[in-house]
C-alpha cells in the first residue's frame, strides 16, 4: 500500500520514542489509547472507513463494543452511559452517513455538557476532497456542534490527539470531541508510547474560583433576607462531591433550593427545602420564589430561556450571583451582579469554608419560608382525576411509588411525558435522571437507557417515553435484546405528539396540524417481535399490576400505558410571559396568543 507508506514516512520523527516503542498501526494505537484511558465500553456501528479499527477491536477484548442499530443511538447511549457513571462516553462510527447520523447526538451532548468522544472513520487522506464514496467533511460539519474536533492525518499524531481529546471532553465544561481518522491513517504504522499528561498551551479551564469574588459572594449571601439556590446540570457534571456540597450549603443557610431540568437529583426532592423544578413547567413555588427573591445564587445553571420566561420580568428585585465554569454563560441572557468562574463544587466548598470561618449561623428565614409555603399551598402539580382514562401524572406517580427502595435510573424522550416525569418522579440522588434538556431530542431515551444500563448493570433503568418519541429510535429494542439489558420502557400513550398538540391548543386555537399519532404500531406485538416482554395498561384496573409486572419481569419490558389523550402539562408559563403569569390549569387558558408570543419558541 504505497499511500500508507507515504503517510508513515511523512510523520515527524520522534527519535527517542522510535527506538524504544514498537511500530503499531493507527487502529492499534487507537485501541491501546482507549485501554490506557480506562475505556470499557464503546458504542458503535461498523462501516467501510472504520474496518481497520474494528479489526483491531477484535484483538482488544478489554474494550466492550456495543453494536447499536443506528449511529444516532450510539451517541445517545454514550450520553446515557456518561451521565449515569460520570465517565466519558465513547462512540465509534464510519465516515459519511455514519458521521452525519451521529451529529444529532453530538449536538445534544454539546447543549447538555456531556463528556463524549466520537471517533469517526474518514476516507483515505488522498481521497479527501474528491467526493469519494461515503465521504463527508466531518470536521467541517461538526465544528460547531463539538467542544473541539480533529482530523488526524498521520498515525504518529494519534496517541497525542486521543489523550488530548479525552482531556478536553472531560475537563472544564464537558462536551463532545470528534476525532476523524482517515482509513490509511488507521492502517499506517507509527511507534506508540503512552503520552505524557496533557499540558495544553491554550486550553486551560479555570477550576478554582477567585477567592475575592467568593468572599463577595459569601457576603452577599450573608446579607440576603430572601435567598434562593438555583442549581443546574453543572452540579451533576462536577461530580458527587458537588451534590454533597450543595446539600451542605443548603443545610447551613436554610435557603430554598430549586433546579433546572438538567440538575434534578443534585438536591434531594424529599428535603423540605426543595421547591421543585423551576421554569416553563416548573412549580408555582419555585417560580414565585425566584421572582420575589432578593438573592439568586445560580450554581451551574445558565439562565436558559425555558427557565427565565420573559427576560425583563425575570426576578426583578434580586441580586444575582452566577457560579459557572464557562465564562460565556455569564451575562448571556441575564445580567448578573457577581460572577464566579470555576468548578461549582470547588466554589461551593470554598463558600462553605468561608461561611464557617466567619462563624455564620443559620439566619431566620421564617418570613421568607412563610411566603413560600403560601405559594406551595397552591399545589401547582395537582391534577384532576375521576374520568375513565388514566391521567399521565397518575401513571408516573404510581411508577414512582412502586419503585421506592430500588436503585432507579430514569431516562426520558422529549415532550409532555418528559415534563410530567420531571414533575412527578422525584430524585434524591444525582446521575439518576437522564434527559435531553438543551437540544430536546426525541429518541434520546431508549438509547440513553441502554447506555445507563451498561454502566449500571444492577440498576432498574426505565425510559419514560411518549408514543411519538419512542418511535424515533425504536430500532434499539434490538440492541437491548442482543446484550441482554433489562431496560424497561414505559410509554405514556396518548396517541398524540402531546406537547405539539398542547401548544396548538394554547397558541393556535386547537388546530391540531399533523400532531395526531396515526397508524401507531401495536407496541406489545412490536416488543415481542424483538424478544421483549410487552405489557398493555388500558385502564385504572391494570395500572398497579402492570407496573409491578414490569418491575418483576426479568429482561427488557415495554409497557404501553394508555393515558388520557387530551391532558395538558401544567403548570405552564406561556412563551413570552413572566414567572408570575403562570397557568395553573386549563381554565386559565385563553386560547389565543399575539404574534410576539408566537414568535418565541
Amino acid at each position: 500500500m504505497a499511500d500508507t507508506q507515504a503517510v508513515a514516512a511523512s510523520q515527524p520523527a520522534a527519535p527517542a520514542a522510535r527506538s524504544k516503542a514498537r511500530e503499531r498501526s493507527g487502529a492499534d494505537i487507537l485501541c491501546e489509547c482507549l485501554v490506557d484511558l480506562g475505556v470499557e465500553v464503546v458504542f458503535g456501528y461498523p462501516g467501510g472507513a472504520v474496518l481497520p479499527i474494528y479489526d483491531a477491536l477484535y484483538a482488544h477484548p478489554k474494550i466492550k463494543h456495543i453494536l447499536v442499530r443506528h449511529e444516532q443511538a450510539a451517541t445517545h447511549a454514550a450520553e446515557g452511559y456518561a451521565r449515569s457513571t460520570g465517565k466519558p462516553g465513547v462512540v465509534l462510527v464510519t465516515s459519511g452517513p455514519g458521521a452525519t447520523n451521529a451529529i444529532t447526538g453530538i449536538t445534544d451532548a454539546l447543549m447538555d455538557s456531556i463528556p463524549m468522544i466520537v471517533i469517526t472513520g474518514q476516507v483515505a487522506t488522498h481521497l479527501i476532497g474528491t467526493d469519494a464514496f461515503q465521504e463527508a467533511d466531518t470536521v467541517g460539519l461538526t465544528r460547531h456542534c463539538t467542544k473541539h474536533n480533529y482530523l488526524v492525518k498521520t498515525p504518529g499524531r494519534l496517541a497525542h490527539v486521543i489523550h488530548e481529546a479525552f482531556h478536553i471532553a472531560t475537563s472544564g465544561r464537558p462536551g463532545p470531541v470528534v476525532i476523524d481518522i482517515p482509513k490509511d491513517v488507521q492502517v499506517a504504522t507509527a511507534p506508540y508510547s503512552r503520552p505524557d499528561p496533557i499540558d495544553h498551551p491554550s486550553y486551560r479551564p479555570a477550576f478554582h474560583g477567585d477567592p475575592r469574588l467568593i468572599e463577595s459572594a459569601v457576603e452577599m449571601l450573608m446579607a440576603a433576607e430572601r435567598p434562593i439556590l438555583y442549581t443546574g446540570g453543572g452540579v451533576i457534571n462536577s461530580g458527587p462531591e458537588a451534590a454533597a456540597h450543595l446539600r451542605a450549603l443548603a443545610a447551613m443557610t436554610g435557603a430554598p433550593v430549586t433546579s433546572t431540568l438538567m440538575g434534578l437529583g443534585a438536591f434531594p426532592a424529599s428535603s423540605p427545602q426543595w421547591l421543585g423544578m423551576l421554569g416553563m413547567h416548573g412549580t408555582y413555588e419555585a417560580n414565585f420564589a425566584m421572582n420575589k427573591a432578593d438573592l439568586i445564587l445560580c450554581l451551574g445553571a445558565r439562565f436558559d430561556d425555558r427557565v427565565t420566561g420573559r427576560l425583563d420580568a425575570f426576578s426583578p428585585n434580586s441580586k444575582k450571583i452566577h457560579v459557572d465554569i464557562d465564562r460565556s454563560s455569564v451575562n448571556k441572557n441575564v445580567l448578573v451582579d457577581l460572577a464566579v468562574i470555576g468548578d461549582v463544587g470547588s466554589v461551593m466548598a470554598d463558600m462553605i469554608a468561608l461561611l464557617e470561618k466567619r462563624g455564620y449561623t443559620r439566619p431566620d428565614f421564617a418570613e421568607w419560608w412563610a411566603r413560600i409555603e403560601g405559594w406551595r399551598a397552591r399545589r401547582s402539580l395537582d391534577y384532576v382525576e375521576g374520568g375513565e382514562e388514566i391521567m399521565p401524572q397518575r401513571a408516573i406517580a404510581d411508577l414512582f411509588a412502586a419503585t421506592r427502595g430500588k436503585d432507579v435510573i430514569i431516562t426520558t424522550e422529549v415532550g409532555q411525558h418528559q415534563m410530567w416525569a420531571a414533575q412527578h418522579f422525584h430524585f434524591d440522588d444525582p446521575n439518576k435522571w437522564l434527559t435531553s434538556g438543551g437540544l430536546g431530542t426525541m429518541g434520546y431515551g431508549l438509547p440513553a437507557a441502554i447506555g445507563a444500563q451498561l454502566g449500571n448493570p444492577d440498576a432498574l433503568v426505565i425510559d419514560i417515553a411518549g408514543d411519538a418519541s419512542i418511535q424515533m429510535n425504536i430500532q434499539e429494542l434490538g440492541t437491548a435484546t442482543q446484550y441482554r439489558l433489562p431496560v424497561k420502557i414505559f410509554i405514556l400513550n396518548n396517541e398524540y405528539m402531546g406537547m405539539v398538540r398542547q401548544w396548538q391548543e394554547l397558541t393556535y386555537e386547537s388546530r391540531y396540524s399533523e400532531s395526531y399519532s396515526d397508524s401507531l404500531p401495536d407496541f406489545v406485538k412490536l416488543a415481542e417481535a424483538y424478544g421483549w416482554t410487552g405489557i398493555r395498561i388500558d385502564g385504572h384496573d391494570d395500572l398497579a399490576a402492570g407496573i409491578q409486572r414490569m418491575i418483576d419481569t426479568p429482561g427488557p419490558v415495554l409497557v404501553d400505558c394508555r393515558v388520557a389523550k387530551l391532558s395538558n402539562c401544567f403548570p405552564m408559563i406561556p412563551s413570552g410571559a413572566a414567572h408570575t403569569d403562570m397557568l395553573l390549569d386549563p381554565s386559565m387558558v385563553s386560547g389565543t396568543m399575539d404574534d410576539e408570543a408566537k414568535a418565541l419558541v
Binding site: 467541517g140 473541539h148 465544561r173 486550553y203 464557562d326 451575562n331 448571556k332 414568535a599
Partner: protein, 171 residues
C-alpha cells in the same frame, strides 16, 4: 410584529491562536453561528516556528454582544488570548489598501496630487492608470477611496485592520 435592533459599537479584537488547520473556519463560523458581525478579519502567523497566528477582527454590536463575542472566542480550544483593543486602552490600528484609478488629463493629475496628500505610494502605473498603496486607519482609507471614486476609481483591495496596543507591553 416588527424586529427591533440595538445600537452597535465598533470594536477591534486582537487574538493569538494556534496556527492549525481549520482555525479560521472555527472563528469565522462562530460569528455566523451566533449571529455576530465581522467588518474585517485579518490573519497571519507571527512566530518564528509558525505555531501562533494573530487574528484581528473588527466587529460591531451592542456592549453585551461584544462581551459575549469575547467569551465565545476565549472558550475555543486553540485560542490563546483575546483582547478588546478598543477597551484596553490606547492602541494603533492600520489598514493597507491598493487603489486602482484610471483616467487622463486633469483627473490623472488630481489623483496624483491627492495621493501625495494622503501619503499614498504609486506601485504601478500605465499611461491611463495608477495603483496607489495607502496605509492608515479605516476612516482615512474610506476618505481616500471616496475622493478617488469621483476621479476614476476602478477597484480597491483592502487588507482589513491590524492593531497593537501602544507602549512596550504585549497583549
Amino acid at each position: 410584529m416588527h424586529i427591533t435592533e440595538e445600537q452597535s459599537q465598533r470594536h477591534v479584537l486582537s487574538l493569538t491562536v494556534a496556527n492549525e488547520a481549520g482555525i479560521l473556519a472555527r472563528i469565522a463560523g462562530m460569528f455566523t453561528a451566533r449571529g455576530y458581525n465581522i467588518d474585517s478579519l485579518t490573519v497571519a502567523d507571527i512566530t518564528q516556528d509558525h505555531s501562533i497566528s494573530r487574528i484581528t477582527i473588527v466587529t460591531n454590536g451592542p456592549p453585551r454582544m461584544i462581551d459575549q463575542i469575547i467569551a465565545q472566542l476565549d472558550r475555543l480550544v486553540p485560542v490563546h488570548r483575546v483582547v478588546d483593543l478598543t477597551e484596553v486602552g490606547p492602541y494603533v490600528e492600520r489598514e493597507l489598501a491598493l487603489v486602482k484609478v484610471a483616467g487622463t488629463g486633469d483627473h490623472r493629475i488630481e489623483a496624483l496630487r491627492l495621493a501625495e496628500v494622503f501619503r499614498a505610494k504609486v506601485v504601478d502605473t500605465t499611461i491611463e492608470s495608477f495603483i496607489f498603496e495607502i496605509t492608515g486607519t479605516t476612516e482615512k482609507i474610506d476618505t481616500f477611496a471616496g475622493l478617488m471614486r469621483q476621479i476614476g476609481l476602478v477597484e480597491i483591495g483592502r487588507t482589513g485592520v491590524v492593531g497593537l496596543i501602544r507602549g512596550k507591553a504585549a497583549i
